[in-house]
Structures are given as C-alpha cells and as structure tokens.
Amino acid sequence: MKLLQDIVVLDFSQFLSGPSASLRLADMGAQVIKIEKKGTGDICRQLYVSDVMIEGESTIFHAINRNKQSYAADLKDENDLQKIKQLIAKADVMVHNFRPGVMKRLGLTYEDVKKINPQIIYGEVSGYGDEGPWKGLPGQDLLLQAISGLSWLSHNKDKKPTPTGVAVVDILTGTHLAQGLLAALYRRGTLGVGALVQVSMLESILDFQFELLTCFYNDGGQLPQRSAISNGNAYLSAPYGIYKTADGYVALAMGDIPLLGKILICNELDMFQNKDEWFTKRDEIKDILTRHLAPQTTAHWLLLLEPAGIWCSEVMNYDTLMQKDAYKLLQMEMEVRTGTGYAVKTTRCPVRIDGKILHSALGAPVLGEHNTQIEKQFSVIP
C-alpha cells in the first residue's frame, strides 16, 4: 500500500510553494486535485517564465504539477462553488496560497470549511504571515530572499547581495507545509480532529537560516562577513570554498591548513599552525590557495586530495554530472506522459520507501481534464 493511499487533497494553490507541497503528497500516494480557475487555470500555466515550452506551457508547470488532476471551476459562480463545497466535504486535505482575504470573500476560510468537514486538514501559505505591515504584499521568492538577509550570505565580500538562483524560499515553504499537513493527518488518525496548518515564506526562510541567526541573536547582533575570496559560508574558516583550476573548479570543504599544504605541496600554508588563523586570516590563506591551484587541472588536484581523505570535489555542471555512473545509478530521472500523450522527462521524488523508488508516469493535467471523472468519483450533484 502506498503511504498516502486514499488521501484526497484539494489544491487551490498556484505557482510553486503550495504546489510543490502537493506534488510531494502525490508522490507518496495521495490523490491531488488542482482546483483551477476556468479559462486560465494556475497562473503558472500562463506565466511565461521559462523560455522553454512543452505543449504551450512552461516546463516549470509540467515539473511542478505532474501526477495531479485538474478540476476547473469558477469560484465566484454559485453553482460551481456548491460543487466545490461537495468536494471539500469529502476531502482529507485542502491547500491554498491566496493572499489574505481572498478565501474570506469566497466563504472558504477554515472556519467556513470546518462546518462542512470538521476533520479536514486545511493548509494555508502566505508570504509574510497574516498580520503586520507586509501582510498584503506579494509573497514572491526573490523578494523574500531580499528582506530575510539571505542574499548577504552568498558570494564574495565585494559582490552585491547575491540571491540563490533557485526558488529556495518557495521550496522550503512547501516542505514545511507538507510536514505540517502530514503531522496533522497523523493527529487526525489518533484523535479524529481536523487542523489548520499555516506557514509563511518569511518564517520558512528564517527557519532555513536558524544556525546563523542564532549566532546573530547571541553575539550582540554582528552581521555576517562574507570572505573576500571563494566565499562558501560566511561563518567558516579557510579553505571552505570553490577554487579555479586550469580546466575547471574544485571545491574544498573544512580541512587542516598545514596538512592541506603538505598534500598540495604548497609550503606557504605551513606557517598557519594556529587554528584560529584559519578563520582570522582566511582570505590570506585562500589567496595562497587560489594562486597555487590555478595552474594545474582539477584531476591533478583530486588525485592528491582524495587519497588523503581531504573533503573535496570537482565542481560539475549538468552535462558533466550526467555522464557520471554515480548519477545514473541514482535513477533520478523519470518520464511522465500528459493526458494528451506528450512525454516529459523530469526528476522523481527524492525519498525511497521500502527500498523502492516512487514512480508515477502521470504528467501534468490539461486544465479541467478531470472534471467529469472527479464529479463521478465523488458523486457531485449539479
């Protein structure tokens, strides 16, 4: 039996944060039904973000919404709303990421929905929580990276604040939502009670920085200082970072500096016997390393470093990674097929259960593709 077999999720959310949570629930066996606006659907279908398209929709939409069904409805239409309420009465979970106030106008807040289905697990994603001066502002990934201090942690000291080039806030918020929903489903299994589960992008991206924020809170509010050279983590000593070689890049994690000097045959590093200096003089050390590593190839250095047990790696792009047997062995790629028969290659769920990869061949739905099927399954009366 799949972990979430027979669990029905109504997903009213759009873009990435909410939908990434419901994707994971779908991977683990839940039936996820996207409730989408008639005519346009999830804005992610239309929002022209990636310049690569699959069947007229962005690759991003296909990646996020595989293994889901689509039910199109106009929530402002009384007849459609009644049908949605019938679905809600039979669902286990519902999720939305509308801005504060939208569900109130529709009469679909947790308080409203509880009356139809007291055991429902109601998940809600916001940008900045439901109070305070930011509550009405758009919860968008880059903007949350901007205000949360995150962009002061990556890249070198002389560089602008540098965002992470993947939607890290959306993804983390989605994981927290999924965790809350699942924990609440577990409680329902023991106590028979429903739950309201709320996450916000701001809280999630603060949680992500919990180790470093805790330093900030307890050391008198000192701001992070990125290293000037090869910054890998503002709080870590040399050699932590990425270095250029003759034909690419090599990453060095934590390590003993004089030992590293010995292995790399770099005598200049011998003088740093005092461990404290690995932090206080990290840019000096990193500068020596930069000059020393530049003339030889990555393979040359790895041949010295790896047998000595130094924590290091080649820095790879996708082309390089995908040639490696270790990547192929993971079987991370998966092909799904849309309702219209179009094949899309994407990645699978990163969790294995009972030794098995979780695989589903179902692609992202066409808008409203499953209306008839769902109305039949749940005996929806018009």
């Binding site: 001066p133 002061w152 560089k159 604040p161 739950a195 916000s200 701001l223």
Partner: protein, 390 residues
C-alpha cells in the same frame, strides 16, 4: 506553551545522527510533539557538540549544537559494546521511529540495519540519510554540504555568468535532506496507523539537491541546454529581465518578474520603453544593464514607492539588523528563549503554525547522557540486560 495538542504527541524517535541533516529532522519532529532521544557515544557524544561557528559556546557544547538539538533528550551507549547494544535494541523495540545518518555500511556493521532491526520491531519507521545513495562509486565520499552543492550543478545557478560557480552560503543540502526525511517519516507513520506496517525511508543529500533543482533540470532535459546565468544581476537562470538585485544610491532593491513596459512607466525610464516584452529573454543582459544605470540614480525608498504604487513586485534588500527591528519581522514573534541553566540563549522557533498557534519550546539541548536514568525508568521497563524477544 499554548494549550494545543501537538500532532506528534506520544511518538518516540531515536536519533543516531550527527551534525545537521539528520538532527534537523529530529528537531522538527520534536517541535511537532515527538519525544526525540539522541543516542550518543558515552565519551565522545555527537560530533556536533564540538563543532562551533564564531567560537560561540554554551557551557561545554557549541551554540551550534544547542541550536540544532534543543528540545531533545540524550541517552548514551557504546554501540560496540555487546551489553550496551542490547539496551539500545530494547529501546528500539519501544520506539516508533529511528533516524540515522551514518555512512553506508556502518549500521550493518553494528547490527542495527533495517533488516535486523525490523525483526525486533516490525512496525518501526526506519529512516536513513546518506550523502550520495547507498550504491556506486561515490557512496563512501563524505556527505558534506558544499561538496554536494558542487557535484549537483547547484553552484552554477547563482552569481553572474562571468563569476566562478557560487555556492549557497547556507547548508542547503543538509536542510532539504532533513526536510525530505521528515515528510517520508510522517507519511510512513500515517500508513502505519492504518495497517500497522513499518517502513524503510531513505533519502540522500544528492537526491534532495537534485529534487531542489527540478525546475532547472526539467528545463534542461527539454532544451538540452545548460542553464545560463545572466551577465548582469542574475537571480535565477530561467528568468528574464528584470529579475534581479540592483544597486541604488543608498542600498539595493530586488525587482522580481514584471512586464517591461509597466516597469519603464513606473520608474520613468525612456530607454526601457524601446524594448518589447519579447526581448525580455533574448536581450536580458542589455535590458538589465539599462535598468542598472537607471536605478543607480536614486535612493531605494524613491524607487520602491514608485514600484509599489504601480503594483510591481519589488522589495528592499535588508540585512538582519534592519530586518530584526522591522515591524514585519517583530509581529511574527519568530524568536524564542531557550532556558539553558546559567545562560539563556535566543533562537528561532518552529516555522509551522497549528490551529492558529505558534509552536514554542524552551527546552534546551541535553547534556551528554542527561536522560539515561529517566529513559531507563520510563522506557526500559524490562530488565536491562536481557535478550530482546526476536
């Protein structure tokens, strides 16, 4: 603490983990109500106790350890000692969840691998984290965050085109891997409620970081083209102009996705009007250069006022000093005090709200072996040194 019934009340989790990936999963389960017991070596303890950043210590353990391991208990056992291993097996018999992040082979050697342990407790949820999966040439490589960022292509997503690869300055692999593990564990617990069945839940830093890049990878599979960072203000290789961070006269602002003509009107930039929306990808570096020049001409608040008035998506770049005094931050009450004897510390709380309640816990990280006696009394009710029933 409020009067909410935490969802995982009553569950016992044994955490055989070190550093961040596994312990961050344990922390989340603890905050959601589980009783999380760290199983540690009697002398050495978890390696994270001695790993500090900025040389910050709370008593004999690092502040970092306190941050990750608050709200847990500690039980010591030498897993290489046959008698103590038996005690641990008794604990496992009573536990709901076991988590470990040893390298592949270690638990097998100790005799606590899943196939052995499920003989003791068939309904156990056994969850494990590896660096690179449990097979192949990389399985014995160190599962360290920066190395995984480097291997999975992630470092080529941040920074500008002419920069070296730029890693994310927070341990993203560890964090995500812990989060994925929690999802798997909770889903397995839900199945167990219905069927009584245990489960093996596995993930790795590598799979978690590839999953993290699923949008980029799916686009790569479809286009066969490496993602390209823009030359100017890259903030996501998949996105067109103006998406990025721009310097103003007194700071920086982030500008997200928006229509170019609307942007041109809002910030009154004539040159920008000469580009059509279809140029947003093809000429993104050129357009971003135009925006860079224009935005440099005034202060952040000036631009934000104009952009927000037009309903366009932008925010100021803040550091923690600015953020932590802002009403938008303060109203979240994200900070909590941990009651460490002699020196209270401040840290963040669980980011998930249940039934409208924020979840706080002031319980500090345990001293090494602090709960040995309590656990003997409360959980190990059977005689300690007997063979568990197989």
């Amino acid at each position: 603490m409020t009067d909410i019934v935490l969802p995982l009340n009553g569950l016992v989790v044994l955490e055989f983990c070190q550093y961040l990936s596994g312990p961050s999963a344990g922390l989340r389960l603890a905050d959601l109500g589980a009783r999380v017991i760290k199983i540690e070596h009697p002398e050495k303890g978890e390696a994270g106790r001695k790993l500090s950043i900025k040389n910050l210590w709370v008593g004999s353990d690092s502040l970092l350890f306190h941050t990750i391991n608050r709200n847990k208990e500690s039980f010591t056992a030498d897993l290489k000692n046959a008698e103590e291993l038996l005690t641990v097996k008794l604990l496992i018999k009573k536990a709901d969840v076991l988590i470990h992040n040893f390298r592949p082979g270690v638990m097998e050697k100790i005799g606590l691998d899943y196939s052995t342990v499920k003989q003791i407790n068939p309904s156990l949820i056994y969850a494990e984290i590896s660096g690179y999966g449990k097979a192949g040439a990389w399985q014995s490589k160190p599962g360290q965050d920066l190395l995984l960022q480097s291997i999975t292509g992630l470092a080529f997503a941040s920074g500008d085109q002419d920069d070296a690869p730029v890693p994310c300055g927070v341990s993203i692999g560890d964090n995500l891997c812990g989060a994925q593990l929690v999802q798997g564990i909770l889903a397995a617990l839900i199945r167990r409620q219905k069927t009584g069945q245990g489960a093996l839940v596995e993930t790795s830093l590598m799979e978690s970081l590839l999953d993290f890049q699923f949008e980029l990878l799916t686009t790569y599979f479809a286009s066969k083209q490496q993602p390209v960072r823009s030359k100017v203000s890259n903030a996501n290789p998949l996105l067109s102009a103006p998406y990025g961070v721009y310097a103003t006269q007194d700071g920086y602002i982030a500008i997200a996705m928006m229509n170019l003509a609307q942007l041109a009107t809002a910030v009154d930039c004539h040159i920008l009007h000469s580009y059509s929306q279809s140029d947003a990808f093809a000429k993104r570096d050129e357009i971003k250069e135009v925006i860079t020049q224009h935005i440099a001409g005034n202060i952040s608040s000036y631009w934000l006022e104009k952009l927000h008035a037009a309903g366009l998506w932008s925010m100021e770049i803040m550091d923690w000093q600015q953020l932590s005094t802002h009403e938008g931050y303060l109203c979240l009450e994200m900070e909590q005090t941990i009651n460490v004897p002699g020196s209270d510390i401040t840290t963040t709380r669980c980011p998930i709200k249940i039934d409208g309640n924020r979840i706080y816990s002031g319980t500090p990280a345990p001293l090494l072996g602090e709960h040995n006696q309590k656990i003997h009394e409360e959980i190990l009710s059977e005689p300690v040194f007997t063979q568990p029933k197989l």
